[in-house]
């Protein structure tokens, strides 16, 4: 698998909304309040309106992530981002994360697959990219290192 760095994305999050037990698991929605992204080809900020991560904790202990965010590049382009992801790990590691402790991201599996849509010509290459990201769950919000699949 050949990849190259697309961007590092940091999002800041507000208090999660615990929806609770739903037919497919336990649902929690985490509003995204802002953030920034930076890479060799684009950089900018995360817009708070309409950005959130919809989480579903499955019966097998795997957390499914369904993130949607609007990015604004420093040259004024708007990018709609969606990513599906999975997070899981040993019980003690997941419990430490839940307590808000700092955990080495290598201790758990946190991977996502972002897709992008934009009408901005300078960033149109994003429309047809398959990308993969590794996540680092922090208290203030996750950090995603996103690589383009070459």
């Amino acid at each position: 698998m050949n990849t190259r760095l697309l961007m590092t994305l940091r999002v800041t999050v507000a208090t999660p909304q615990s929806i609770g037990a739903v037919p497919h698991g336990t649902r929690r929605t985490v509003p995204i309040t802002g953030g920034d992204f930076e890479g060799p080809r684009l950089r900018g900020s995360v817009l708070p309106g309409g950005s959130a991560d919809w989480l579903l904790l499955r019966a097998d202990g795997v957390l499914e992530l369904d993130l949607r965010a609007t990015l604004r590049t420093d040259d004024g382009g708007l990018i709609s981002m969606r990513s599906f992801g999975l997070r899981h790990g040993p019980p003690d590691v997941i419990e430490a994360l839940a307590r808000g402790e700092a955990v080495d991201p290598a201790a758990y599996y946190f991977r996502t697959t972002p897709r992008f849509e934009t009408a901005h010509p300078a960033h149109a290459f994003l429309n047809h990219l398959i990308t993969v990201a590794s996540g680092d769950r922090r208290n203030e919000g996750p950090i995603y290192t996103i690589h383009e699949l070459l």
Binding site: M1, F84, L86, N127, V132
Partner: protein, 132 residues
């Protein structure tokens, strides 16, 4: 990013069903009549499914595949992928996902994967790697 081989998947397809121009682009449905998959941890055959392919105005095609896999020890695996096929840039990449109830293959429920596709005359071949 690190990855390790998961499987090589060969698909055979029947005549394309051309739905035509829809609000999202030109929709073609590729029925999948069979095929096989093989990797270190699993191997078997493809029972069938289809790939819903929508061509955008710029010629790039978005793939939306669903198939059922049957392993050589009779477990069934539901597989889907979203993908991109951009002939002009030789870019054929997918994001496979798996669901199974078979305990032996439950590791598939917990991983994300990427696929590199190649078009062959008798159907596409996908080299699928697990994202570590």
């Amino acid at each position: 990013m690190n990855a390790r081989p998961l499987m090589r998947l060969r698909l055979t397809t029947a005549a394309t069903e051309e739905i035509g121009p829809t609000p999202h682009g030109m929709l073609s449905i590729f029925p999948i009549t069979g095929g096989s998959f093989e990797g270190e941890r699993l191997r078997g055959i493809v029972l069938g499914g289809a790939d819903w392919v929508t061509a955008a105005a710029d010629g790039t095609r978005e793939l939306d595949l669903r198939v059922t896999l049957e392993t050589d020890d009779s477990a069934l695996i539901h597989m889907t992928f979203a993908g991109v096929l951009d002939d002009a840039n030789h870019y054929f990449r997918t994001l496979p996902r798996f669901e199974t109830a078979a305990p032996k293959y439950a590791f598939l429920n917990r991983l994300l994967a990427v696929g590199i596709g190649e078009a062959h005359r008798d159907g596409p071949v996908h080299t699928i790697e697990e994202i570590l």
